[in-house]
Every structure is written in structure tokens, then in C-alpha cells.
């Protein structure tokens, strides 16, 4: 197995867990069966809610799983940043250089794009001229279009003359700003979560989960990456001696059947001896059709 870099999990607002680095997001999705929820506005498409951008928000159980597996570490991102911003400019140079480098690249991408559009525009103007000449021949007047294009060309030339500052960049992560700090100072413990044994079992069997709110449960459970599969279960985790009202089983079973899913509930059976790990029992409820 190749050694992959540990994913950085940002703890914000006390007990919320986010991941900002796309490499980390992809690696935990590919290697650990965790897709979590994209929650951010996509700067390319900021007026839609169909597909969202970074960061992803992880559940506490998912965080624990990743940390226990040695695949991630958690930092108190506020403490980390307050320290980093308080440092001298020299210490921040790596980050500032990264920003500057990206700004140059962005300017080049922008120029390249502009040139492409200009060429496209020239093509259009040529085509329009041809058209106009043709129309003139046909006895029509096409003055407006010629005026418009000349005006625009002038404007463009003016813009080029001005020496513009480089475009600004907002990096997605502060990787180069906080580099080297986090492993010592701000790494935080992940508290135990009552759902953890259940979640871990599902994850170990290759199931992906998303928040269960859509179907009124703790989890929606998918037999693989939700990109490709429909959810099989809406799932709840209970304590071994937690009392479940029958009405809850009936309503969840009914709801699950209505959306072609089974209602799954699971619980960790306490181990006979403290050294053993408890087994997780699973039960599935479906409408019987009678």
C-alpha cells in the first residue's frame, strides 16, 4: 500500500467537521467509503442548489472512523488560523508566494481566454461585414452593426493600455500558511459517538451513508457510492436496551417501503467480556403486503 497523506479535518464552531482539500475529499471517498455532504456554494455556479461545492461536512462518526484508521487528523481550525495570521510576513511567505503564483497563472488563463474570444469576435465581425456587404447589395442598410463593432474595438484597446493589477485569488485551503503547525498544537480528540459501532459496521461492509433527514432516519444507506446507486435502507442506530416504540417501527417501515427502501435498525450487542468488541445486530423492516 502506498503511503497517502493524512486528510485534514477542520473542526469549526466547536463540534462541526469540515474538509476543504479536494485531494482529501477524493481520497476519503475512494479509499474509505465516505462521501459526506458537499455544503458550499460553487463559485462557478453560485445560484443553484443541485450540486454544491467545498467544503464537505463530516459526521462525528465518520471523523472518528478516519482518525482511528490513521487516515486523518482533526485540527481546531480557528486556533490554527489565529496563530498563523499572527506570524510575521516572512513566516507567511510560502503561502503568499502560492497566492501570487496562482494570481499569475489566473492572469494567463484569463488572457488566453480573452484572446480566444477576441479571435472569435473578429470572425464574427468579418462574417457580419460580409453579411452587410451582401445586404447592401440587396439594398438594405446595415449601419448599426458596423458602428457597434468599431466602438467596442476602441474600448478594448483602451483597456489593454492600462497596466492592470493581477487578479485576486482566494485559495481553497490555507495549507501553505499552516504547514507544519497542526500536528503539534491544534490537533483535537474526537469524542465517542453512540452511533459509532453501527456506523463502523456499515462502513466496513462497503456501505456509504448520507444524512437520513430526507427519509426521517439517522442515515440513508447506499450499497456503494451514491453517485451510482440508490439507497437500500433508511437506518437508525439504537442502544441495546433502548426502547423503540412500535409506532416508530411501523411508520419507518411504511415510509421505507414507499420509497423502495427497507428500514434498517441496528445496535451494538455488549460483548461478554470487556476485551471483546461487541457485535452489531441489524434488523430490517419491510411492509409485508398484507
Amino acid at each position: 500500500m502506498t503511503e497517502t497523506k493524512k486528510a485534514r479535518i477542520s473542526r469549526v464552531g466547536g463540534d462541526k467537521y469540515l474538509v476543504f482539500d479536494i485531494e482529501d475529499v477524493m481520497s476519503i471517498r475512494r479509499n474509505h467509503g465516505i462521501c459526506a455532504v458537499l455544503t458550499g456554494t460553487m463559485p462557478q455556479n453560485p445560484t443553484q442548489n443541485l450540486f454544491l461545492g467545498l467544503p464537505i461536512e463530516l459526521r462525528a462518526e465518520e471523523v472518528k472512523l478516519l482518525v482511528d484508521a490513521g487516515a486523518a487528523y482533526v485540527v481546531d481550525e480557528l486556533a490554527e488560523h489565529l496563530t498563523a495570521f499572527g506570524k510575521s510576513r516572512e513566516e507567511q511567505q510560502k503561502y503568499l508566494d502560492e497566492v501570487k503564483e496562482k494570481r499569475v497563472l489566473a492572469q494567463r488563463a484569463y488572457d488566453e481566454e480573452k484572446e480566444r474570444i477576441r479571435l472569435l469576435h473578429i470572425d464574427k465581425v468579418m462574417a457580419a461585414k460580409k453579411n452587410k456587404e451582401k445586404r447592401k447589395k440587396d439594398g438594405e442598410v446595415g449601419e448599426e452593426s458596423s458602428l457597434f463593432s468599431e466602438e467596442q474595438q476602441e474600448q478594448e484597446q483602451e483597456v489593454v493600455k492600462k497596466e492592470k493589477p493581477l487578479p485576486g485569488i482566494t485559495p481553497t485551503t490555507s495549507e501553505n500558511l499552516v504547514a507544519g503547525m497542526s500536528h503539534v498544537d491544534a490537533v483535537v480528540e474526537v469524542p465517542d459517538h453512540p452511533f459509532y459501532p453501527f456506523y463502523k459496521k456499515m462502513n466496513s461492509r462497503g456501505y456509504f451513508t448520507t444524512p437520513g433527514l430526507r427519509f426521517g432516519g439517522d442515515y440513508s444507506v447506499y450499497p456503494g457510492d451514491p453517485f451510482r446507486f440508490h439507497a437500500h435502507y433508511l437506518a437508525n442506530a439504537y442502544g441495546w436496551n433502548e426502547e423503540i416504540p412500535m409506532l416508530d417501527l411501523v411508520t419507518s417501515g411504511r415510509l421505507g417501503t414507499a420509497v423502495k427502501k427497507s428500514f434498517l435498525f441496528g445496535s451494538e450487542q455488549p460483548a461478554p467480556t470487556p476485551e471483546d468488541e461487541g457485535d452489531v445486530r441489524m434488523f430490517c423492516v419491510e411492509w409485508a403486503g398484507m
Binding site: R205, V250, S262, R281, V285, A288
Partner: protein, 196 residues
């Protein structure tokens, strides 16, 4: 656990009419069928017997089940029911796939004979813990006692689902105060949903 309505129906027992008929039938069932390895205990409280009876009647008269029996067992905290539904009640999605394959090969439909099923009578107002459900599953075999277990042939995959591949499942029969009974499958373990 049970409400006043059921308490009252218990008191009516033995005073003739419906109650006594049902209680007689329960008695005969238990004596006829479970004298091998199962001891009849009198530990059951009366409301639970009444609950079982409501479900038993509902299965027989509303859902046309046959050979319906009340099943008691020392390691069960309440009586279960088992019986034969008029048509097959559960087909695992994988069995369905294998059946379709087999039907294609033999160019003929495979008849779906009903299977004996377990039933767990419950009242809607009850609360059960995972530990309790686990105890029920741990106490039973996949096939109810009267089932003719199919002699499975390994080279007929769809048949194995009636034999060794059958998982533990039990019908939760949830009784409401007005004697409405709703039926939900409870499977032991992860069982993927049926697609139809």
C-alpha cells in the same frame, strides 16, 4: 403494556362466545404440536395470550391463513404464532433473480408455493428494545416447526432459498386498540429491499 380494552377482553374470556372459543383452540394447538422439545409454561400473562388470539383470528379469518398455531417456548417471553399464508409472502430479491433465470432456462413458470411463516404478536403501544428482538430471533429457527423443509439441491439455486438459504424472518403483527392488525416483516440481519 396492554391497555384497558384488552384487560376487559380478558375478563370476558370463559364467559362464553368468541373469547372461549379462541382460548380452546389455543389450548388444543399447543398440546397437539409442541410436545417434542418445547415445554408449555403457564408464565404468560393473560393479556399476551389475548393478543396472540387476536392476531391468530385475524390471520385465519381476514387473511385466510391455514394451519395457524400458537407457539410457546420457555426461552420466549411471549407466545409466537406460525402458519401457512394462502400465497407466498416473501421472496428475497436474489431468489427472484435466480427464479427468473431458471424460468428462462426451462421455459416455464416456477410455481411459488406458500411457505410457513413466523408471526410475533405485538400491541401498538409497546416498546421493544433491540435486545428483545435479538432474543426472539436467537430462540427460533428460520423455518417454523411444521414446515416441510425443502430438500435442497445445490445445483438448483432458487430452491435453496426455501431451504438452507432462508434467513430468519418474522412477521410483526401489530395490534391496535380497535383490533386492526398491521403486518411488517422483520428480518434478522441486513436484507436488501425488494425492488418491486
Amino acid at each position: 403494556m396492554c391497555n384497558d380494552g384488552q384487560q376487559r377482553s380478558m375478563k370476558e374470556e370463559g364467559t362464553g362466545g368468541r373469547g372461549s372459543r379462541a382460548s380452546e383452540s389455543q389450548l388444543s394447538h399447543t398440546t397437539q404440536h409442541h410436545n417434542q422439545n418445547i415445554t408449555i409454561t403457564m408464565a404468560f400473562t393473560q393479556p399476551l395470550d389475548a393478543l396472540a388470539k387476536i392476531v391468530l383470528d385475524n390471520l385465519e379469518y381476514q387473511h385466510d391463513w391455514t394451519e395457524v398455531y400458537i407457539h410457546t417456548q420457555s426461552n420466549l417471553t411471549r407466545p409466537l404464532i406460525y402458519g401457512l399464508p394462502p400465497k407466498r409472502l416473501y421472496i428475497h430479491p436474489d431468489e427472484q433473480v435466480e427464479t427468473i433465470k431458471a424460468e428462462k432456462d426451462r421455459n416455464d413458470r416456477i410455481p411459488q408455493e406458500p411457505e410457513n411463516e413466523w408471526v410475533l404478536p405485538l400491541h401498538l403501544s409497546e416498546k421493544w428494545t433491540p435486545a428483545q428482538f435479538a432474543a426472539v430471533f436467537d430462540a427460533i429457527k428460520p423455518h417454523p416447526p411444521s414446515s416441510d423443509v425443502v430438500q435442497e439441491t445445490d445445483n438448483i439455486p432458487w430452491m435453496a432459498w426455501r431451504g438452507s438459504k432462508r434467513g430468519k424472518r418474522i412477521l410483526l403483527a401489530t395490534v391496535q386498540d380497535d383490533s386492526t392488525v398491521t403486518y411488517y416483516w422483520l428480518h434478522d440481519g441486513l436484507v436488501k429491499p425488494r425492488q418491486n
